[in-house]
Structure formats: structure tokens, C-alpha cells
Amino acid sequence: MTQAPAKNQSYRSDFRTAEQATDSPAWLRDVRAEAMARFEELGFPTARKGNEKWKYTNVAPIARSEFGFDPKRDLNGLNADSLTVAVPWHETWHRLVFVDGVFAKDLSSRPEAANGVRVSSLAEALVSDNGAVQEHLAKHALFEDDGFAALNTAFVRDGAYVRVTSNVTLETPIHLVFVSTGRAEPTVSYPRVLLVAEAGSRATVIESYVALGDGEYFNDAVSETVLGEGAEIEHYRLQAEGESAFHVGTARVVQAEGSNYSSSAFFKGSSLGRYDLSVLLDGPGSTCRLNGLYMTSGSQHQDNNINIEHAKPHTTSRLYYKGILDGKSRAVFGGTVLVRKEAQKTDALQSDKNLVLSPDAEVDSKPALFIYADDVKCGHGATAGNIDLDTVFYMRSRGLDVDAASRLLIYGFARESIDTVREQHLKSYLESLFLESLPKYRFEF
């Protein structure tokens, strides 16, 4: 197995400090202790032979760094005004704000629990809604084989908690904001999200990871999302971390019969980013739709590992990830669509397309399908490359020169992903974040 680097010592002492500083229900203390023990066994993953999930991503820069940890950090000067410019914002949105991993109650704004929805910090929910928390927390994001999930779970005592009760439709989006303020010393945070959409409920959830400075920090995030029968979640995830940041996000989604999970994820920034999403279609007729857009430049590295498991019949998945790579950056797309034997009438499409706009940029795109049922409709594909000749000729024949055509094509490529966003204010934010800073490139013919 993997070797636990010496630096793990600091996580052990952080763990002890945190355990002494805060009180939690006994069951949760047990979960944490177990997770810490598991992390100490696993360490961080390495690209050892046969470890397909980490084949192209080296997390040594995380393993060898020393990050400060403090479960009671202050806001580092952050106020409501500075927040509105740093993150996607709309005054009507509900929001839970976390600053360097610590819940910022005064910057948050929550709906009344009477409206059939609980939006609170996880620490609060451990008091007011302990039953539901205990039922789901750390039950879906398993840490048995996952060092990052284990480490996060070893520190879980707060986070974002959303529970939408049966048959409630929440029109207003809930925004979960994780801000890193860029402190003088590198810091580590353990963002945690638990989202429970009960049967027949509907909600829109935005999860943002943003930075105020260029400082080095490490976000080890875990989210768990549970959809009851017929529930619908529209999920947006923005990973716009600082230039020197490390971000490893682990997300687990479990879907009951007839539920619908649609997610659009956007990636920019971070020197090393990883998003590990697994969706379990565990009820007949459930559907997931996963869109992603990653834009890398400089020496950034973004790894997306997206796994979908069709466990029941008549399940549908759509996976469309896209990358725009510039500079010396590197992107990895991995993951599998797994169709279990009983998941007849599965309908699955998996696609990863990349525009590699620099000779020094590189993408490793390895989507895979494993099908054990015999009556299914599955397709997949990956592309890394240039625009075809026909397309550019078409545009030139309308009077556009190659530069203008290239610009428009790169724009359209990114735009297509942003078009999947239905929340208008978020969409405008993403348009300026992505479309106004597209790499300049001229396709050669």
C-alpha cells in the first residue's frame, strides 16, 4: 500500500488539538477517530502501479507541504462587502459562508426552518437535526480506500447542511460559499457538505470555492448528496481557487427511484486541483446529467475523476466535460460508467472534449465504460485537439479571418458548458469569469 509521509505527523497533532477544542456527539467522535486511523494507514495516494485513479496526478506537493490548522480562525478581515465581489452573488440567495473552513454566521443568510428546508451549519444541525445527520454523514463518502476523504472526515465537526423536506420546492438557490482568504502561512481547511433532498423535493444548490489572495492553501473538501424518490437537485460547483492553491474535492451522490440530479461544475485557478465525483443511480428511472468545464493555464494541473454507477434498470446518465488548456498546464479526465447486470435499459453517454491550445499543454483523457447488462444504450468518446478544417473554412467563407474564427470557436466551446446553467445571476458571473479571459489562439491550417 501507500506510504504515509513524515508530514502526516502534523495532521495527527492537528487532530488532537481539534478533538480537545470542540465537543461533538459520541458517534461523530468515533467516526472521526476511525477516519484518522484510516488516514494514517493510507496516507496520500501515489501513482503506484495499478492505481488507475491517481495515475496522472502527483499529490506529492500536497504531501510534502506543511499547512497550519486552526478550527477557530477569525475572518481575516473579510466582511460582507468584500465577499460580494469575490463570489457569485445575489442578494436573494440563501447562503452559508465559510471562511478558511470556519463557519461565518454573520455573513450567512438562511431561510426560516418553517419553510420546509433546513439550511444551517453542520455543527448546528448536530444539535437540532442530529437524527438525519447521523443517518447520512460519512455514510456515502466512504474513506476506507480514500486518504483525502479519510483526512477530511477526521476533522468533520462543522460544514454546510441542507435538508429539504418531502415535496417541498425551494425556488431560491442555496449558496454554499467556501472562501480562502490567503493568510501569511499556508493553511488547510476541510470543507464538508451534507445535502439531503427528501422524496419529491426540489432545490438548487451552488457550491463555490473561491480565493481572495494568491497564498498557498489546501482545501480537502467532501460533499455528500442524497436524493430521495423523485427528488430533483440542480447543482452548480465553482472551483475558482487561488493560483497557489491545492484543492481536492470528493463528492458522492446517491439517487433513489425517479430522482434527477443535474450538475454543472466549473474549474479555474488552483495549482493542483482534483474533483472526484461518484454518482450512484440506485433507484429505477433515476437520471443524472453532469456537465463540466475546466480551463487551465500556466503550470496548473486539474484532474477530474467522474464515476457513474448504474445499479438499477431504466437509469440514464449524461456526462459532458470539456477542457481548454493553455500554457504548460495539464488536465486529466478519468472515471468510469459502470452498468450493473440488473441495470437493464440503461442509457449512458460519456464525453470529454479538450482544446489543447499550447504545444506544452497536455491532456490525458481516459473515459471508460464497463457494461455487465445486455440491453443498454451506451456511448463514450474523448477528443483532444484542434478544430476541424471544415468548420474554419465555413467561418472564413463568411468573411471572418482565422483569428476571428478561432476566437469565436473557443468562445463557443466554453459557452456551450456555461449554457447549461439555468440560474441567470450565476450564469452572468461565469460568463465574465470564463468568457472574458479565454486564451488567445489561432488555429493553424
Binding site: L389, D390, T391, F393, Y394, M395, R396, S397, R398, G399, L400, D401, V402, A404, L408, L409, Y411, G412, F413, A414, R415, E416, D419, F445
Partner: protein, 261 residues
């Protein structure tokens, strides 16, 4: 188009002994064709005769190599011009298979194209209002719904919608020479009528049209001044409207036999 220094009576397009190949294969083997403003020419021929190649070469498709001959457009050497220069100088090619542009709005594409062409022609750029007004006027002719303009270019369009979108682009760019490559193919009779009407509206004493088609039925709506039959890379017969009708009655084999004879 350059005007003052060229002969007023010179043809708009003058193709002389044009030979074109792709890779090692010769496709056009000596084409002569003269088109003047105010004229509509139909180029007919069986599949594989080279008619789409001729259309593409006029627009500057890069994968074709001109091995011999020349093409003058308004007295200028057309073959020395880049595809975008040709478009700005007034050549428009309606594609047989219009290309889908993911994420690029039809409206946005039209606007960028119209701006590029107008800039080159020394016309001022249209304001959004002026542009939309022009667009409203043109799209009604080809019955394009304004909602379609918000969608990505040709993406999810039906065959008929794609062809109508080509004619809309033509109308917006206001070319001098429009080359329509099988714009009638794959259309049902209603769609054909709409497309043909759009093209017919465009007809004017100051413009010329080359209609590349396999079938003569579109010529029922747009009556050509000249009809040319292309076979195996050569124009084997030219005539007037009657030639197209005769061709429909007797088929391409009739020409093939009479050429061989």
C-alpha cells in the same frame, strides 16, 4: 470589387481551363465558364461529376489544389485570395452540408460576419438596432423564427432549417456572386419553395447566381439564363432552360451517350 480599372463589359466571373485536384485525384479537368452580373447559371451533373468541387474552389476551400488555369473575379485573380477575402469581396458559398458551430449563437455569427464584410467594403458597422432591423426583414423571407437566431449555428437544426439559414446568411452578407451548392437537396416541396423564393428575391441586375444542383426542380422557381452540364470534371454541354428540362426527361445517361458519340 475593383471597378474603375476594369472593363465595364468584362464578366463578373471568368473561369479559364481550370484544373483542380485533391491529393492525387484530378477532379476538374479544364473548366471554362463565364458569368456576368444579372445572370443565373445552373450547373448540373450526376454525383461525382465535380460540381461541388467547382463551387468550393470558387470560395477557396483549402484542401483543393488548382493545378492549371485561372479564375478572374471582377478582373482580379481570385485564386490568390484567401477565403475570407473572397467573402468580403462579394463571393458567397451556400454549403451543401452547413457546419454546426457549438456554442456560437446564430445571431452572433451573423453579426460578426456582417461586420467583417461591411468593414472591408468601407461601410460603417451597423448598430444593434440597425442590424436587428435588417435581420428581421431578411429572416421573414426565409421564414426563420427569431428563436432560432438564439440557438447555436446549425446545431439541432433540421435539414430545411440549415438550408434556410444559408440563404439568410447570403441575404445578410449581400454578396455579388452567390454560389449555391445543392441548396435544394434534401428539401421537401414547401421548404424548397421557401428557399427558392429567398434566392429569387436576391436576383438582381447587379448580382449573379450560380446554382449547383442535381435536379432541375429548383429551376422551376428560379429560371436560369444558362444551364451547364458537368461530367467527369468537364462541362460537356451548355444551353438554356430547355437543356435542364430535356435532361430531366432523358436523364444523365442521354448526355453521357451523346457526348461519347
Amino acid at each position: 470589387m475593383a471597378e474603375s480599372d476594369t472593363d465595364k463589359n468584362a464578366p463578373l466571373l471568368d473561369v479559364r481551363d481550370l484544373h483542380v485536384s485533391v491529393g492525387e485525384t484530378d477532379i476538374l479537368k479544364g473548366i471554362d465558364l463565364t458569368v456576368s452580373v444579372g445572370e443565373v447559371h445552373a450547373i448540373m451533373g450526376p454525383n461525382g461529376s465535380g460540381k461541388s468541387t467547382l463551387a468550393s474552389v470558387l470560395a477557396g476551400r483549402p484542401e483543393f489544389t488548382v493545378t492549371h488555369g485561372k479564375v478572374l473575379y471582377g478582373g482580379q485573380n481570385l485564386l490568390a485570395m484567401l477565403p475570407e477575402e473572397r467573402a468580403r469581396e462579394g463571393i458567397f458559398l451556400a454549403f451543401q452540408y452547413p457546419v454546426e458551430l457549438a456554442g456560437v449563437r446564430t445571431w452572433q455569427f451573423l453579426r460578426a460576419s456582417v461586420d467583417a464584410v461591411r468593414r472591408h467594403r468601407g461601410l460603417k458597422e451597423l448598430s444593434i438596432r440597425e442590424f436587428d432591423k435588417l435581420l428581421d426583414e431578411k429572416r421573414e423571407v426565409v421564414k426563420i423564427d427569431p428563436e432560432m437566431l438564439k440557438r447555436s449555428v446549425n446545431e439541432g437544426f433540421s435539414g430545411g432549417e440549415k438550408k434556410r439559414n444559408e440563404v439568410l446568411q447570403m441575404a445578410m452578407l449581400d454578396p455579388t456572386l452567390a454560389v449555391l451548392d445543392e441548396t435544394d437537396s434534401g428539401l421537401d416541396i414547401d421548404a424548397l419553395k421557401i428557399v427558392a423564393e429567398g434566392v429569387d428575391r436576391f436576383r438582381s441586375p447587379s448580382k449573379a447566381i450560380i446554382l449547383v444542383t442535381h435536379y432541375q426542380r429548383i429551376l422551376n422557381y428560379i429560371s436560369p439564363d444558362r444551364v451547364h452540364v458537368l461530367m467527369d470534371g468537364r462541362i460537356v454541354r451548355s444551353g438554356d432552360r430547355e437543356l435542364a428540362l430535356e435532361l430531366e426527361k432523358k436523364g444523365y445517361d442521354w448526355i453521357r451517350e451523346s457526348v461519347a458519340a
